[in-house]
């Protein structure tokens, strides 16, 4: 059930009538909206209905701490790699969120001897896990320090898609040149034959 557009700070109802959901906050026993959008009231059954405010018709899935995300590397630096988060789990995102993979979060072992150039390159598709949502100005902090996380798709300098050989090397099928990446060990059920 939708109501017309609300502004942030509008008082919706009191806590005795409804339970707060997402996009609202409680103050002095009343529920106020914290977003500008549409009110959504869901009846749960015996409990009080849940009231929430959403920006668009579909609720945006936000990456949460511990979620596996698929991202694309945009730039690398000796200290960290900047990525754009494209998918959360298997749902694509409408906007691209920014993430950072620090040098010490690339691997679980030998953290200080990691070279970002030998782990990621710009344009690689990487599976990572969110460790922190970050502050106001900083991006999501991600990690690839597990066997199942790391580079999934990468293109060689010749432009062909590379085939993984080991956990740290990938080979180009055209030039047969090997390049270093932090390769993810994808579970067999996710691979297409």
């Amino acid at each position: 059930m939708y109501l017309p557009v609300l502004h942030s700070g509008d008082r919706l109802c009191s806590t005795e009538d409804c339970m707060p959901g997402t996009g609202v906050y409680l103050r002095h026993g009343y529920i106020y909206s914290s977003l500008a959008g549409y009110v959504l009231r869901k009846n749960e059954g015996e409990e009080l209905p849940v009231i929430s405010v959403v920006r668009e018709t579909e609720a945006q899935l936000l990456p949460d701490v511990g979620a596996i995300v698929t991202c694309k590397v945009t730039s690398i630096n000796p200290r960290f790699a900047k990525v754009h988060i494209l998918y959360v789990g298997s749902t694509p995102l409408k906007d691209r969120f920014r993430g950072t993979i620090r040098k010490e979060d690339v691997r679980a072992t030998e953290k200080d001897r990691v070279e970002t150039y030998k782990s990621f390159r710009p344009g690689d598709i990487v599976l990572a896990k969110v460790i922190s949502l970050g502050d106001v100005q900083s991006n999501y902090l991600l990690t690839t320090a597990e066997n199942e996380l790391g580079v999934v798709v990468a293109h060689s300098e010749a432009g062909a898609q590379m085939v993984p050989i080991s956990w740290c090397e990938m080979q180009c099928p055209r030039t047969h040149a090997k390049e270093f990446r932090k390769v993810a060990r994808v579970q067999p059920e996710y691979l297409q034959a």
Partner: protein, 219 residues
């Protein structure tokens, strides 16, 4: 010219700079002269003036800015390289090296690829300067092509041997095409600089005749 050559020999071929493997063929990706070194090394000798930073290469850089803990160095590439102030021999957080904007440094690349900003150091892996660092009080810095620089730095360089017979001088050769020369007088410095710049397109014969003429004519 960039083209494709089919290698008919069944042995293992090592492709050097300028050559690339594409399936079963070897492709040429730069124009130049194909060189061969026994037993199986092939590469292309190309003429180029624009320098592309490569890891491990020693270059002459000019300090352009000091920002915080690093210096920005112009090496003639597409981007300025960064040089940490701790990357000098005997430099600690308290004991900063005496480097000013505009100084010449002879240093080596530790990071040089197309995805990241290049980084320089003035020490080797043991922590010793090994000839690197700030230099150049007096003398002349000029630019030559990369092919000439490679010929000068070759182990048995004929150009270097011919130049040594002229008169004593100091020379620093950077792989980015920059050469710094200092002789006893300004006139001798200029003579050496002009000779090097003209050696570019001469055969060995023409070069030796020119050097002999200059040696006879000068003091």
């Amino acid at each position: 010219m960039p083209e494709s050559i089919t290698d008919s020999k069944p042995e293992k071929v090592v492709c050097g700079p300028g050559l690339r493997r594409n399936g079963d063929e070897v492709l040429v990706c730069k124009s130049g002269i194909l060189r061969h070194k026994q037993p199986n090394l092939y590469w292309i000798d190309s003429q180029q003036r624009r320098y592309v930073p490569g890891k491990g290469e020693s270059v002459i850089g000019i300090i352009t800015a000091k920002s915080g803990d690093i210096f920005k160095v112009d090496v003639g590439g597409s981007e300025q390289a960064s040089l940490s102030y701790l990357a000098f021999e005997g430099a600690t957080k308290r004991n900063r090296p005496n480097v000013q904007v505009g100084d010449l440094v002879y240093s080596q690349f530790i990071i040089a690829n197309k995805d990241m900003e290049p980084e320089l150091v003035c020490i080797d892996s043991c922590g010793r300067a090994n000839g690197m660092g700030v230099f150049g009080a007096g003398g002349l810095l000029f630019k030559v092509s990369l092919g000439l620089v490679r010929r000068l730095l070759a182990p048995q360089s004929e150009i270097a041997k011919d130049l040594e017979k002229m008169f004593p001088f100091e020379i620093v050769v950077g792989m980015n095409g920059r050469v710094w020369v200092k002789a006893k007088t300004i006139q001798q410095t200029l003579i050496v600089a002009n000779l090097l710049e003209s050696c570019e397109n001469m055969t060995a014969q023409q070069r030796q005749t020119l050097f002999r003429r200059v040696a006879d004519g000068s003091i």
